[in-house]
């Protein structure tokens, strides 16, 4: 088992296999986002309170889910890198950070645009909004720290420690609406409760949620392939790959 993981996680092997896997993420993403947008913008009915404005949820909620999911990937890969010294884990963490930051930014922006007409304000410093903003800063801190060292090994280690320290923010974001009074409402979809009382609304949201997951998978693999070539630039197999593409 250990041996098998080591062979699979070797940068060379990853580079060869990932090329085919990317399509398995990219094609489902395109299919799901098209059906999801159709379902969300046309099939799903108007909301009883928010009218058509609620439809921004189909971007906002998946983006917010992904902002936390990608951070989890970042911290776990960082941990795997630190403990088992697997290069590929550091690569996955490094290339995931800007994607996660983009999802977080998207969640914050769509939330602000949604908050202005519904709540009456772009932004408030309540526990949910503030902890999500801290998540964006964690991503940015991770990216900065990773670029602050000349030695890539030191950079990976230091930034992974930071990623693991930031992990504590995820339960805080998730439970912020339960632990404290916030302007932001509680979760509409959770393990034991679904407060979306319409099947089409729910289907649209889940389709978009899945689309975003596949999008992340595709983007992460594409970026990881490039990063693998950079870190392995002195090895013979990379030189061969480059020769082939000349």
């Amino acid at each position: 088992m250990w041996k098998w993981i080591q062979t699979f996680a070797s940068p060379k092997n990853f580079y060869q296999i990932s090329q085919k896997i990317i399509l398995w993420f990219l094609i489902p993403f395109i299919v799901l986002i098209l059906i999801g947008l159709y379902w969300g913008l046309i099939v799903a009915p108007t909301d009883y309170q928010q009218g058509e404005s609620y439809r921004i949820m189909f971007i906002h909620v998946p983006a917010a889910w992904m902002s936390m999911f990608v951070y989890l990937v970042l911290a776990i890969s960082g941990g795997i890198g630190l403990i088992w010294r697997i290069k590929l884990a550091y690569v996955i963490a490094k290339v995931s950070a800007p994607i996660g930051a983009a999802f977080t930014f998207l969640a914050l922006i769509t939330g602000a645009v949604w908050g202005k007409p519904m709540w009456g304000t772009w932004w408030v410093w309540d526990a949910r909004l503030t902890s999500e903003l801290i998540l964006l800063f964690l991503y940015l801190a991770y990216i900065s720290l990773n670029n602050a060292f000349d030695n890539p090994k030191t950079a990976s280690k230091a930034s992974s420690v930071l990623a693991i320290m930031g992990l504590v923010n995820l339960p805080i974001i998730h439970y912020s609406v339960k632990w404290w009074n916030t302007l932001h409402q509680s979760a509409s979809v959770s393990v034991n409760k679904v407060a979306i009382q319409d099947v089409d609304m729910l289907i649209a949201l889940l389709l978009m949620g899945m689309a975003f997951k596949f999008l992340y998978g595709a983007l992460m693999l594409m970026r990881a392939r490039d990063e693998v070539l950079v870190i392995e630039q002195n090895s013979s197999w990379v030189k061969r790959v480059i020769m082939e593409h000349r």
């Binding site: 009915p45 108007t46 909301d47 009883y48 309170q49 928010q50 609620y54 949820m57 941990g79 630190l82 403990i83 088992w84 007409p117 519904m118 709540w119 009456g120 304000t121 408030v124 410093w125 309540d126 526990a127 420690v161 693991i164 320290m165 992990l167 504590v168 805080i172 632990w179 404290w180 009074n181 916030t182 302007l183 409402q185 509680s186 979760a187 509409s188 407060a195 979306i196 009382q197 319409d198 609304m201």
Partner: protein, 140 residues
């Protein structure tokens, strides 16, 4: 092998340490993290006297009285109720039975608000379903 276990231990300690520190930190600042106070909190005297605070709750049915851009309404958490005085633009979702968060201060038992924000819940449904639910609730 032993080195790897040591590293595993260090990573676990890092997670536990940071969690503990955050727990203590959040516990210490718990009061400050509450975005608003409920009418019961205010009735119990938890509101600051010398500065503005936020009062949140439900708008009582049939309590809204408009007079130009001035508006008066009652905010309740079903245990205590406060009268709120405000003049300015109201958010779209401001209506009876809806959640609201107001910023201001208490003057002779009346809350003088300088800002009114609407708080909606996590439920989403088409109007027909909302009507049906409302009817079922009235029957009970």
């Amino acid at each position: 092998m032993r080195k790897r276990q040591n590293r595993m231990l260090l990573v676990s300690l890092l997670v536990i340490g940071v969690s503990l520190a955050s727990y203590l930190g959040l516990k210490a600042f718990n009061e400050n993290l509450l975005y608003f106070l409920s009418p019961t909190d205010v009735a119990k005297g938890r509101a600051p006297k010398d500065k503005d605070f936020r009062l949140g709750g439900m708008i009582v049915k049939d309590s809204i009285e408009h007079d130009g851009i001035k508006v008066v309404f009652d905010v309740t958490d079903y245990a205590n109720t406060f009268r709120v005085n405000y003049s300015g633009i109201l958010p779209d979702l401001f209506k009876e039975g809806q959640g609201v968060i107001t910023t201001g201060s208490l003057v002779d038992g009346v809350f003088m608000a300088t800002e009114v924000l609407a708080k909606h819940d996590e439920n989403y449904m088409p109007p027909e379903v909302a009507d049906a639910l409302e009817k079922a609730k009235n029957k009970q």
